[in-house]
């Protein structure tokens, strides 16, 4: 086994030992929520829907038409990511409260009732219900 493979294996063991399956889910959901937020915050105007400004413009230019500095933009992205991490934590807690995390297997998720419970956990946090 090459050094890289050895390191990868050791790192997976290290991660699971300290954070478990819940930690893996939290990291995955943080990354996903961040991608979703960045996707939506880089959308263009939609005159048919009554949206006359690009959020992809407003992400980089403030209300006084001044461009944010690279440091300000990086800080804002870091803060957005932190908020996504908080939301991911809430989703994982909802799944834990429903005792769903230990049962997350392919057969389990194909059960419509279970899939609905997982969807509800995501939806309640993402829609702010």
């Amino acid at each position: 086994m090459s050094v890289d493979r050895t390191s990868a294996e050791a790192n997976i063991g290290d991660f699971l030992e300290k954070h478990g399956k819940a930690g893996f889910l939290k990291l995955l959901l943080t990354n996903y929520l961040f991608e979703l937020v960045m996707y939506y915050l880089h959308s263009e105007k939609n005159p048919g829907g009554g949206i006359k400004e690009d959020t992809s413009y407003r992400f980089y230019v403030n209300g006084r038409e001044r461009v944010y500095t690279p440091v300000q933009i990086e800080r804002f992205k870091r803060d957005l990511r932190l908020e996504c991490s908080r939301k991911a934590d809430l989703i994982v807690r909802e799944l834990e409260n429903g005792r769903l995390i230990d049962k997350l297997t392919e057969d389990f998720i194909r059960n419509p009732e279970v899939a609905q419970l997982v969807d509800q956990a995501l939806e309640s946090v993402m829609r702010g219900k």
């Binding site: 063991g13 889910l25 979703l36 915050l41």
Partner: protein, 144 residues
């Protein structure tokens, strides 16, 4: 608007999206408010959550199954079981990409090929890369 070679998606078709623009234009824009309002408004325009949830749920299942397999049987056995081709030069990315290929093969292609499927792919491969390259530090870094 052209952004390099890609094209930005249109804003969600609701006037409530102007609330998101308002949070971005605020003098001291607040990331918590921007993220919460953007997700809430965007999700409210979708008739159901499954196009958003399905790709990442399948990714979660495969990711968890794989890391537990590695913990129990070792990386070589886990990789062989999945028939993942590893590039010796790019070991970690090739495992992550190989795993996503398996995830996508288990899902309806309308989910895989959707914008949410592509975002889930980015999140999944990044997560696997982080776990395999940083170990426990991958999550600790998120919390600081």
């Amino acid at each position: 608007m052209r952004l390099g070679t890609s094209r930005a998606a249109k804003a969600p078709p609701t006037r409530r999206w102007n609330d998101v623009i308002g949070t971005l234009k605020a003098p001291n824009r607040n990331a918590e408010t921007v993220a919460s309002v953007a997700l809430s408004v965007a999700m409210s325009t979708l008739p159901e959550i499954s196009p958003v949830s399905t790709p990442i749920v399948f990714g979660a299942l495969e990711g968890i199954r794989f890391v537990l397999d590695v913990q129990e049987k070792g990386l070589e056995a886990a990789v062989q079981r999945e028939a993942i081709l590893i590039s010796e030069r790019y070991v970690i990315p090739s495992i992550s990409e190989g795993l996503w290929y398996i995830v996508s093969s288990k899902m309806d292609q309308r989910f895989t090929n959707s914008p949410f499927g592509r975002l889930a792919q980015l999140a999944f491969t990044k997560t696997m890369d982080q776990v395999m390259s940083k170990g426990a530090r991958a999550l600790i870094a998120e919390e600081t």
